[in-house]
């Protein structure tokens, strides 16, 4: 039996409330499956499970859980294959777990000598119906049976699944975040950052002319859906640069630097009405600008409407913030703990510049790095900024324009 714990959805999150379960006891789960919707100050987050097995128990809806507390218990597949002991000798779930007491009565286990772990239920259900119910994550004990002696049949289970699916499609999922709570959480995280992280700052002005020309040429022949924004290029350049300077891609924990498993760039997204989230784009260094553009659009959409996933909030290895067309000319960011770097891009502006000894108007963008001095020094930071500059001078090298 393995415990599925409430994940840390960012340094500024301490508790979360389960507002919807997407599985039931008996459901089979595999890593990556979304199993619950948890409400945090960042809004409703889809929580993914990274265990494999069969759900045994779930924390009741509405409980506020701290990070690390038990959300659910999962029977691993190998444990499930061994013959189960006589039910009367097993302690009842309510007594042995640390789960908060459930308001609904615990089901009494049915006597069985079958080695396969059918969900413990006293319901009369045919073997085929029980197996189907387990596959679908339905409790046959809740169904009315139309079979011999009132037993639940396959048809009964299928009918229940169909109507459940229908009902689920009708029920809107809870969304939305509490702006005040978010403000407080951001404040706490930023205060902690400034308190604990010795920041150093570096900035560079980068000639955006080549990048702008390249964007214009690739966008010319595309419809609105395939347009690339400068943000995609900036993100691509930053991600690749982070891959080249791994000491800036990771976490400072317990007094030491731990490199990130991949370059999962957290992209800062301003939420309408105030508030900020920076969910991860996994393996951003391996994606083309077009793929990054698609990822950005998807993330922004889900951040605004609620629908970010737990892994997106817990996994960023470094953050990139881009102020966009209407932001300031430069940004010196506050690092999001326990990360060690934040890359910032200001607005692209047209300014006088020197090219070939002549003064010419050029589009320019200010790139900055805020970094944790415990993990790196200015020299390394400088290398990162140089790498970004280099990428932006040869944008076609960042990858094919289309994902095809």
């Amino acid at each position: 039996m393995a415990d599925f714990l409430m994940p840390a959805l960012g340094a500024d999150m301490e508790t979360g409330k389960v507002v919807q379960w997407l599985v039931t006891p008996g459901s089979r789960v595999k890593p990556g499956d979304i199993v619950a919707v948890v409400e945090t100050h960042k809004g409703a987050i889809d929580v993914e499970i990274f265990l494999e097995g069969v759900i045994d128990e779930l924390a009741p809806l509405g409980t506020e859980l701290r990070i690390g507390e038990v959300l659910a218990r999962v029977r691993s597949s190998s444990a499930a294959a061994s013959p189960s002991p006589s039910p009367s000798t097993e302690p009842s779930p309510a007594r042995s777990s640390s789960l908060p007491p459930s308001p609904s009565p615990a089901p009494s286990p049915a006597p069985t000598r079958s080695p396969l772990p059918l969900p413990a239920t006293a319901a009369k259900a045919s073997p085929a119906a029980r197996r189907r119910a387990r596959e679908l994550g339905i409790d046959p004990g809740q169904l009315a049976g139309t079979g011999v002696a009132g037993a639940v049949t396959l048809a009964d289970v299928d009918a229940a699944a169909a109507s459940a699916a229908h009902a689920a499609a009708q029920t809107p999922r809870p969304r939305g975040f509490d702006a005040l709570q978010m403000r407080q959480a951001i404040g706490a995280a930023m205060s902690r950052s400034k308190r604990e992280i010795p920041h150093y700052y570096l900035a560079s002005i980068v000639d955006f002319g080549a990048a702008a020309a390249w964007l214009e040429s690739v966008n010319r022949d595309c419809g609105a859906e395939e347009q690339l924004l400068p943000a995609a290029l900036l993100l691509a350049a930053a991600a690749r640069a982070l891959a080249q300077t791994p000491q800036l891609n990771g976490f400072h924990v317990d007094g030491a630097f731990r490199p990130g498993a991949g370059v999962h760039v957290g992209w800062a997204i301003a939420l309408r009405g105030g508030g900020l989230v920076a969910p991860a784009i996994h393996d951003a260094d391996r994606k083309t600008p077009a793929q990054l553009m698609a990822a950005l659009r998807d993330l922004v959409q889900r951040a605004r409407t609620g629908g970010l996933r737990s892994s997106e909030l817990s996994d960023p290895t470094a953050t990139v913030t881009s102020l966009g067309e209407r932001g300031a000319e430069s940004v010196l960011g506050v690092i999001y703990p326990p990360q060690v770097a934040m890359v910032g891009f200001g607005r692209v502006v047209e300014r006088p510049w020197v090219v070939d000894h002549h003064i010419v108007p050029r589009p320019l963008v200010q790139v900055s790095l805020a970094a944790d001095h415990r993990a790196s020094d200015g020299h390394l930071g400088g290398l990162l900024l140089a790498a970004i500059d280099q990428s932006l001078q040869s944008p076609e090298r960042l990858g094919p324009r289309s994902t095809a």
Binding site: E225, P230, R272, V300, R304
Partner: protein, 77 residues
């Protein structure tokens, strides 16, 4: 499409991007990006949404014409 339909379409698309926006309060010649605090991503999504809702393919060079309500009405009308 007439002016009413175009404004209604724009409002519908915007509802998914800036739910609190009130198009009725925006002047016809105001830059929508300023008036509604739309960043480049939002505006791009707005273009895509208009394209899907109207069925008209919006070319990149036309996008500047769609920055105001007046421009929208002229383009789709």
């Amino acid at each position: 499409m007439n002016s009413q339909d175009i404004r209604a379409m724009a409002a519908r698309v915007l509802a998914g991007i800036a739910p609190e926006a009130d198009l009725a309060a925006v002047a016809d010649d105001a830059d929508l990006r300023e008036a509604l605090d739309l960043d480049s991503m939002d505006f791009l999504n707005f273009m895509v949404g208009l394209q899907q809702a109207s069925g008209v393919k919006i070319r990149d060079e036309d996008a500047p014409r769609l920055r105001t309500l007046a421009g929208l009405v002229a383009y789709f009308g």
